[in-house]
Amino acid sequence: MQTVKMVVTGPFSAGKTEFIRSVSEIDVVSTERKVSADGERAIKNATTVAMDFGRITVDEDLVLYLFGTPGQKRFDFMWEILSEGMLGFIVMVDSTRPETFREARSILETFRAYAPTPYVVAANKQDMADAWDIDDMRHALRLDGKVKLLPCVASDKATVKNVLLELLYSILAEMDGGEK
């Protein structure tokens, strides 16, 4: 049995747990704890302290694991552990909370430093009225035109599938590029 891993990362409350839950064939194992900091509690009551874990069985020889990282900075010691051996990673960003964009950028850079694997950025909560436009987010996140910034609603399986597929297409493209 071969296993491959993708990591879903991003700031606190970006929607990582929901994203994995939308496509995992098993109930997502997560360690959600009550939030202690007042500022964070105003956003949601529980957060992932270690990581989420979801699974997609491809066939009898291949399984894809999805690992969601903890969003709070104080658990960032887990990031490097999770990034080891990953096929690629997804940075989730809450489109309605521009105050988290800088942190998302910092997380992206951190993961790029851990492993030079392909990645995509998912602009979550695009169904909300106050969501930023994709183009504006690209500027705010200082993303190169080549980086895929994809609209997403973490609870909507179709958009989650699209994000995963775009990441896989990027991985394929990089393999093709490496052959040249």
Binding site: M1, Q2, T3, V4, K5, V23, I26, D27, V28, V29, T31, V49, A50, M51, F53, R55, I56, T57, V58, D59, L62, L64, Y65, F67, F75, M78, I81, L82, E84, G85, M86, L87, K157, K161, L164, L165, L168, Y169, I171, L172, M175, D176, G178, E179
Partner: protein, 273 residues
């Protein structure tokens, strides 16, 4: 004759028992696989404990026991570098911020925690230095060892039981295919997650322990918990033994065409969800 030896022959619990019975005064120095610990005793009672490079100064101990906020800790660490633990303790008591009991209870709790961690050390050497006292500026306590010895003995029995349950660390772990709905309610610790992230039929339990920097007892305890929860099963490692670095979940195929085929299989599967 100098009290020195190997933890394989003489456990930490046995050492504590000996120190307690002999009312010994001095410092037990234990060199473990990755760090060292110094535990000081006076007349057979625990006086002070220090492990590795961990900051065991009073300010940090009080912060750990929530008696000081992070801001207060930072202020003390930056502005009161020259103040000894004893002076700091007196300042806090005189300012009416903490009582003597608050300080002693926090220190006792920390020292006890250090000793508890030593119970998991099964590899390493020890020596008892009769003339070595705790650093002059540190506050010491006088804590009876009996309860700690009982706790240590309990852990020893647990260790023996775990060895029966998981006799070999050369086996690998595999996620059970249909773990059931109870997984949703499972609340894993950070250490358990650390182990989970390395689970792969190619990684032996020993390799996982090494990668996660865990002792034999710690990894056995976590694996036993995961087994009992029905999350994993013990399997024979796939193929020849590989290092954890190579065997972690990742694309292990050598051929680029095989890699592309693997990614295409993933694409087909995700499209079908």
């Amino acid at each position: 004759m100098a009290l020195r030896g190997n933890l394989r022959d003489f456990t930490v619990t046995q050492l504590l028992n000996l120190i307690n019975l002999a009312h010994k005064t001095g410092t037990l120095v234990i060199e473990g696989p990755s760090e060292a610990a110094k535990v000081a005793f006076r007349d057979g009672k625990l006086a002070h404990a220090q492990i590795g490079q961990e900051d065991g100064r009073l300010a940090s101990v009080l912060h750990r026991s929530n008696k000081l906020t992070t801001g207060q800790l930072r202020a003390i660490q930056t502005r009161a570098v020259q103040v000894s633990d004893k002076e700091l303790g007196l300042l806090l008591i005189n300012a009416g911020y903490l009582s003597q009991d608050d300080i002693l209870n926090s220190l006792q709790s920390y020292f006890t925690d250090v000793v508890r961690r030593l119970f998991t050390w099964v590899e390493g050497s020890f020596r008892f230095e009769n003339d070595m006292a705790p650093p002059e500026d540190r506050i010491t306590v006088r804590l009876d060892l009996e309860n700690l010895i009982i706790e240590g003995a309990r852990q020893l029995r647990e260790w023996e039981q775990l060895q029966d349950e998981i006799p070999s660390l050369d086996m690998a772990l595999k996620f059970i295919e249909r773990p059931g709905t109870s997984m949703q309610k499972m609340n894993l610790s950070v250490e358990e997650w650390r182990v989970v992230s390395y689970i792969n039929p190619r990684n032996t339990i020993q390799q996982i322990a090494s990668a996660a920097k865990m002792s034999d007892l710690e990894i056995r305890r976590i694996v036993y918990g995961l087994l009992q929860a029905g999350l994993v099963e013990v399997v024979r490692p796939e193929g020849a033994p590989a290092s954890v670095d190579r065997a972690r979940p990742q694309v292990t195929v050598q051929n680029r065409e095989e890699q592309k085929s693997l990614v295409n299989r993933l694409i087909t599967r995700i499209r079908s969800i």
